[in-house]
């Protein structure tokens, strides 16, 4: 990188070798002197390329020259000149007035056009430059108006005052405008999504419900349709900001997994504030759901109630049931993974089983 990396950037953009671009620049410089001008132009207006690595960022090119600040200094000098020349200018426009307008406008333009996209220039710097330019214009404009009001000086003064006010307003207007644009595109996206959702709802979801209705209750087809329906529903009615670690979400997800594997249909109902799942409660609930899917099948209800103090989960199936008193034989799952786990973590578990089915109740403190 010899100066600011412009030749390298041009070479990369045009697919040429860096050396030939540099040679061309040199030739242009020697023959007629347009090389530096072109170089400066490209340097000022080419979009800044983010550095790929931190090391590159250290040696990387920056628009080192604080153009806006330099122009502002120029404008201040011109303004001083104007103020000095004004009393003796008579009917003519005092020297420096035009230069003040041009230099301060250029400073503002540089600040808005070039510095705003440059990460090395802070927003505060831009603000200071623009406010100073506007103040300068307003000051000189007012001073000119207070002189003997000749046509030319009045025009120049009014121009300065107008420009000053505009410069002060520009950032706010730009900000408002980009807000409006962002809001509009956000609304368009939201509308499109709603439209797609409505369409899917009226067509696909209905068809999936119908398939479940028509197919044998526990058949492969019915289960697949149910899983698809659940997935689509999740997407359609996804609430923004729901924590994926939420116990309700986790139980839903696990129910969907089990439905694909076993001939079972889960109805998961949740009540209360969202609750982070404590490991033990979630683990025990999963075990209970797995048991229900494996041994009972059919319709299984899962009910989660989250009160401010504790979480309660009920898992109920309509299987043949078993005697909780003799769970020793082989059903280690219930004793160890459910009851043991809950009591160890400071919660409680109860099993009610009869010929009508089994209900497991889990209680645990909020995580």
């Amino acid at each position: 990188m010899l100066v600011a990396g412009v030749c390298a950037a041009v070479a990369r953009h045009l697919g040429l070798r860096v050396r030939s671009v540099r040679l061309l620049a040199l030739v242009l410089t020697l023959a007629g002197g347009s090389g530096p001008l072109l170089y400066g132009w490209l340097w000022a207006f080419t979009p800044h390329e983010p550095a790929a690595t931190p090391a590159e960022a250290d040696t990387g090119a920056r628009r080192e020259v604080p153009g806006a600040a330099l122009l502002l200094v120029l404008a201040v000098a011109a303004a001083l000149l104007t103020l000095i020349a004004a009393p003796s200018a008579g009917e003519r426009l005092p020297g420096g007035a035009l230069e003040t307008i041009v230099a301060s406008s250029a400073a503002v333009a540089w600040s808005l056009g070039l510095d705003r996209g440059d990460p090395t220039r802070s927003a505060r710097y831009g603000f200071v430059v623009r406010t100073a330019s506007a103040a300068l214009l307003l000051l000189v404009g007012t001073a000119l108006l207070l002189q003997q009001p000749w046509v030319l000086t009045t025009i120049a003064a009014v121009l300065m005052l107008t420009l000053g006010v505009v410069v002060l307003l520009i950032p706010r207007v730009v900000e408002l405008w980009s807000e409006v644009i962002a809001e509009r595109s956000g609304r368009v996206r939201e509308e499109q999504r709603a439209e797609i959702a409505a369409h899917l709802h009226d067509s696909v979801l209905q068809t999936l419900a119908l398939i479940q209705n028509r197919a044998e209750p526990q058949s492969e087809i019915a289960r697949l349709a149910r899983a698809q329906e659940r997935e689509l529903r999740e997407w359609l009615f996804a609430e923004p900001g729901v924590d994926p670690g939420d116990l309700a979400v986790e139980l839903q997800r696990y129910a969907a997994e089990l439905e694909l594997e076993y001939p079972v249909r889960f109805e998961v109902v949740t009540v209360g504030e969202a609750a982070l799942s404590s490991g033990a409660l979630a683990g025990a609930a999963r075990e209970a759901m797995l048991n229900a899917a494996r041994h009972a099948g059919g319709e299984v209800s899962v009910y989660l109630e989250a009160s401010p103090e504790e979480l309660t989960v009920f898992i109920r199936d309509h299987g043949p049931g078993f005697d909780p008193a003799v769970v020793e034989e082989g059903r280690l799952g219930v004793r160890e993974s459910i009851i043991g786990r809950m009591t160890r973590s400071g919660g409680a578990a109860a099993v009610r089983s009869s010929v009508d089915g089994t209900e497991i109740e889990l209680r645990g403190p909020r995580a």
Binding site: H201, D202, L205, Q206, L208, A209, L210, Q212, N213, R214, P217, R226, E229, R233, L236, F237, E267, V269, T270, V271, G272, E273, E299, V300, S301, Y303, E305, A306, S307, P308, F314, R316, D356, E359
Partner: protein, 214 residues
């Protein structure tokens, strides 16, 4: 028992017609809001099976049918059917006057049972609807009505019944679990339905408002 099926999907209508029990006579079908309102006025069925999402009319769906059939609500009972059991939909149609709600995935036998219950003047709550009710009335947070007639909260017994329904208990099972008669369970559920329709709790208003149903 005379039943009208309102749904914009013809396959669903014919499927349901075939699945319903003997003794339930389907007297007509309608596919949109205006058609449904006309058919209800002309036929005066015992029960209307009403899809929550319906095209036509002013875009209000099933709830609009209910509002426009307001005069007939004491003679014609409405059972809402929906594929999407989102709270706004369900609460919207119930507040507009439906006596119950079930999902479209329910079997023909389940729908038939629900139709008979609604025709008898009972309310039909699915586990999910019971869950919505518990949520809407702040039951999980421990809110409880002091008096039976209080509209904005559930009594301890009503909360108990709703909780069992949400846990997947049928009315009969709720009754034996709580040592009360099925009739008592039904009257509790009807009381909850009335509260759901008349209460001005802001959760309910907000849900209905979200679907522009107020």
């Amino acid at each position: 028992m005379r039943v009208l099926i309102v749904d914009d999907h013809s396959i669903f209508r014919s499927g349901l017609r075939a699945d319903l029990d003997e003794g339930i006579e389907v007297v007509g079908e309608a596919a949109d809001v205006d058609g449904a309102v006309r058919a209800i006025q002309a036929l005066e069925p015992h029960v209307v099976l009403l899809d929550v999402h319906l095209p036509g009319g002013e875009g209000g769906g099933g709830a609009e049918v209910l509002r426009r059939s307001g005069r007939l609500l004491d003679r014609v009972r409405f059972l809402a059917l929906s594929v999407s059991d989102s709270a706004e939909d369900v609460v919207g149609v119930i507040r507009a006057g439906a006596r119950g709600y079930i999902t479209k995935g329910s079997s023909g036998a389940d729908v038939s049972r629900a139709v008979r219950a609604v025709a008898d003047g009972d309310a039909v709550f699915s586990p999910r609807l019971a869950g919505f009710v518990l949520d809407a009335f702040g039951a999980a947070a421990g809110e409880q009505a002091e008096r039976d007639e209080e509209l904005d909260r559930l009594t301890a017994r009503e909360r108990e019944v709703m909780r069992l329904i949400a846990r997947g208990y049928a009315y009969k099972e709720v009754a034996s679990r709580l040592f009360i008669s099925i009739k008592t369970v039904e009257s509790h559920v009807s009381a909850v339905l009335r509260k759901l329709q008349l209460s001005s709790r802001h959760e309910l208003a907000a849900w209905a408002l979200a679907r522009r149903l107020l």
